[in-house]
Structures are given as structure tokens and as C-alpha cells.
């Protein structure tokens, strides 16, 4: 006897079959980043509990399957935001995950409208809060730590995530320069291969530079990442644009995941380049 409810639900499988397959290596890398973040956060929590410093925001360290630590009880005299953010502090306040990083307001992020085009269709944006786990936004991204003023926004078209943007505000120009240097190193074939060797050894990657330029007080560069499993079963292409602004000590990373050819992917990423920069520098209309 045919189950009519199953008959209704079963065809939804065709929508799933139409999705590009995420390589297992990418999922494992996400799990590895999550583990590292939890270890870092747990260490920070230990220090904070020991000295009675209150947690900032909401802690989510354990995941559904694990134990969820209780928020640290407030100290008798809560510190001011400026003291918590002080670069001279010896306490790792900045390593606490925060759901809504105060230094990264939503206005800094691209909107769905910025992404919407004939090629991508109507794009909508997620809340640019911090996701659980990692803030890495592309396959070669070592900047996975949710510490500090960092936020990630995701963008959907037709039910799929097609793009991601990360905005990180640094405490100093030297810290910003270090972040850019790290991003440049990560976004090379050798740098990314070295990174993936430790997290996804069965993935081969190729990083192709697509352009670089400077603007007043900052700069941008763009690459395309092609990764595939060694058995050829899964492939992934990402267009990555990294920009920075020295005045606001901000680095932003825009990633397009949509399955487009080279010209189209490049065109769609470049299209949002100025909008992303203008939002960070506060010159957006």
C-alpha cells in the first residue's frame, strides 16, 4: 500500500539532489575548527572563572551533544566596555564568543540587494551575527577564531547559500597589517595546500590570483579557489575578495560560492567590491 504522506515528501529529494555536494573534507575541517575554538574558549573561560570576570554575551561552547557551561556569574563591579577591550589587559577577554559583536554593526555588511543580479537572482541576507563554531569563510581561511570584533553574514538565493562576508575590526593598524599578511599567505596555492594538509589531506587546491589594487587608506585583492577531492568526486569553486581600510582598522572578506564560470564569478564578485568598501568606510550612499 502506498503511503500518501511519504509520496508527498519523497519527491523533495530531487531538490536535494540538485545541490552541489559539499566535500567530506570541508565538513571535517569545520569540525576541526570547531574543536580548536572550543579548546580556546574553554581555556579563556577557565581564566575568567578564576579571576571572577563576567562573561560578555552568551557562551555556547558545548554544542547540542555536549554540556553547556553556565554563564559566568557577574563580578561585584562589572567592567566597562572600554576596560574589557583594553589592549593592555592581560586577560583574554577578547577570546570570548559574542553573539552580537558590538564593534561590527550590521551597516558594515553587504545587503542581499547588493548581491541581487540577473545571474544570482534575488539574494537575501542573514543576520550578521556570529555563527556557532568558526568564522572561517572559505576553504583556505585560517582566521576561524570568533574572538574579538568579528561578524559573518551569509546570503541566500533560491534556498542556497551563495555568498558570505566576514568583517573583522582590529585593535591596531599593526594587527590589521598582520591579518592582511596572513590572508595573503593563506590565499596562495602553497599556503592553502599547507593549511589543508593538516585538516583535509585528501583535498587538492589551486588558488589563482585575479587582481589587486589600492584605494585611499586601503586596498583589495581577489583570488579564485578551486578545490577538489583527490578521487575527483567533489569540486568546489570560491571567489574571494579581501579588502581593508586602515582608518577603521577593518578587514573584510567577501566570498562567492555560486557555481558560475570564471568570467561570471569574477564579474559578480567585482560588482560588489565597491559596495563592500563603501560600507566599511562609511561612504556608502
Amino acid at each position: 500500500v502506498t503511503d500518501p504522506v511519504r509520496s508527498l515528501l519523497e519527491p523533495l529529494r530531487h531538490d536535494v539532489d540538485g545541490l552541489p555536494a559539499t566535500p567530506a573534507a570541508v565538513v571535517r575541517a569545520r569540525g576541526d575548527r570547531r574543536r580548536r575554538r572550543q579548546l580556546t574558549a574553554a581555556a579563556a573561560l577557565t581564566v575568567l572563572v578564576a579571576v571572577g570576570i563576567p562573561a560578555i554575551g552568551v557562551l555556547d561552547l558545548g554544542g547540542r551533544g555536549g554540556t553547556r557551561p553556565r554563564p559566568v556569574p557577574p563580578a561585584s563591579s562589572p567592567p566597562t566596555p572600554s576596560s574589557a577591550a583594553s589592549p593592555t589587559s592581560t586577560l583574554p577577554i577578547g577570546t570570548l564568543p559574542k553573539i552580537f559583536p558590538a564593534g561590527v554593526p550590521a551597516r558594515l555588511f553587504l545587503t542581499g540587494e547588493d548581491w541581487t543580479s540577473d545571474l544570482l537572482g534575488t539574494v537575501t541576507g542573514d543576520d550578521p551575527g556570529q555563527p556557532e563554531g568558526s568564522v572561517a569563510v572559505h576553504s583556505c581561511d585560517r582566521d576561524s577564531d570568533p574572538a574579538g570584533n568579528v561578524g559573518v553574514a551569509r546570503y541566500k538565493a533560491a534556498g542556497r547559500f551563495v555568498a558570505t562576508e566576514k568583517v573583522r575590526r582590529l585593535g591596531s593598524v599593526s594587527a590589521m597589517d598582520a591579518a592582511i599578511t596572513q590572508a595573503r599567505s593563506d590565499l596562495t596555492t602553497s599556503g592553502c595546500t599547507a593549511f589543508l594538509a593538516g585538516t583535509a589531506p585528501n583535498v587538492e587546491v589551486s588558488v589563482r590570483p585575479l587582481g589587486e589594487g589600492t584605494v585611499t587608506g586601503g586596498g583589495r585583492f581577489m583570488v579564485r579557489i578551486d578545490s577538489r577531492t583527490k578521487d575527483g568526486a567533489s569540486k568546489l569553486t570560491e571567489w574571494v575578495l579581501v579588502g581593508w581600510d586602515a582608518r577603521s582598522r577593518t578587514v573584510w572578506t567577501v566570498v562567492l560560492h555560486a557555481p558560475l564560470d570564471l568570467a561570471a564569478g569574477q564579474q559578480e564578485t567585482i560588482r560588489v567590491e565597491n559596495a563592500a568598501g563603501e560600507r566599511v568606510t562609511g561612504t556608502a550612499p
Partner: protein, 168 residues
């Protein structure tokens, strides 16, 4: 049920064998393909984190499915409750767009209460018995039967009569 061994290769094989089925299940549970995809990836990432333990479970796929369901529910509730998020991001996203011939089904699913939707999917799509659904959801068998009955009635109100007794 896929019974994986330990290690990277076994995880990859387990992932390849089960991810589309799990995504399909979560898609039916959430009515949102993007959310389903993300919740499933998060669940597999968590499975990899503790693979030496999860791989020894009797049904690792059920573990992943349960984690993915909880991740999806948690995110949905956070989104629903986060007034500050609404202020920051404006109105919620427009619903994702399923294939044209699935619009009616997805729309009908979205109209169901979450508890009924989960019971329907686990029982009718995953093929679990009512007893197993009750164990997985942590509710009495009678509650599952009631949710299935109400869920079918609600679906029928949208897509037409459904004549099906609760099976064991």
C-alpha cells in the same frame, strides 16, 4: 543503517552514504533547503569532532539526524526570539524557492507546527515506528500518535484528503 568504522576514511564513507538522505529529511522537517543544508553540515562537523565515539554507536546516522534537527530548531528559535536581530537585519528572509512542483508540499509543511512536522517526517519519510519516533523525540507514544494524526489532518487541509492509519 550504515555502520562506519573509525577514522577519516570511514567518516568520509559514512558522510557520502548518508548526507543526502539526512539533508532530505531535514529539508522535509524545516521546509527550508538552505537551513537544512547548513544544519546538516553542522551536525556532520560535530560528528567528526567526536567520531571515535559516534562511530561506535548502533546507529550513527540517527545521531547525526537528531543533532541536525536540534541545530535547526535552535537556530529557528533564536531567530524567532532575537528581537535585537530583527532590529539589526530588518524583516526575515524571504522563503527559499523549491522546485516549482514542490512548492505546494513545502508550503504545506511550513504551515504545520514543528512538532507535527518532525513526527510526520520521522514516521513516514524515515520509516521509523511510532515507538521509535517517541524515543527519538522524547515524548510518549500517545503524543506521537496525536501529532501524526493532527499533522495529516493539517496537510490534508492544504493538499487534499489523506487516508492513512497510524502504523506500528
Amino acid at each position: 543503517v550504515t555502520r562506519p568504522e573509525r577514522g577519516t576514511a570511514s567518516f568520509d564513507a559514512f558522510y557520502a552514504a548518508t548526507v543526502r538522505r539526512t539533508t532530505h529529511t531535514l529539508y522535509a522537517m524545516t521546509g527550508d533547503l538552505g537551513e537544512a543544508q547548513d544544519a546538516v553540515q553542522e551536525a556532520y562537523a560535530r560528528a567528526w569532532q567526536r567520531w571515535s565515539t559516534v562511530s561506535g554507536y548502533g546507529d550513527p546516522e540517527a545521531w547525526v539526524r537528531t543533532v541536525a534537527r536540534r541545530v535547526a530548531v535552535s537556530r529557528w528559535r533564536k531567530a524567532r526570539n532575537a528581537v535585537s536581530a530583527m532590529v539589526r537585519s530588518g524583516p526575515p528572509d524571504a522563503p527559499p524557492e523549491p522546485a516549482v512542483d514542490h512548492v505546494l508540499v513545502v508550503d504545506a509543511l511550513r504551515r504545520l507546527p514543528e512538532t507535527q512536522r518532525h513526527a510526520l517526517v520521522l514516521h513516514h519519510l524515515v520509516g521509523m515506528t511510532v515507538d521509535d519516533v517517541a524515543r527519538e523525540l522524547g515524548v510518549p507514544v500517545g503524543t506521537v500518535k496525536a501529532r501524526l494524526s493532527r499533522g495529516r489532518s493539517a496537510l490534508a487541509a492544504v493538499i487534499g484528503p489523506i487516508d492513512l492509519e497510524v502504523s506500528r
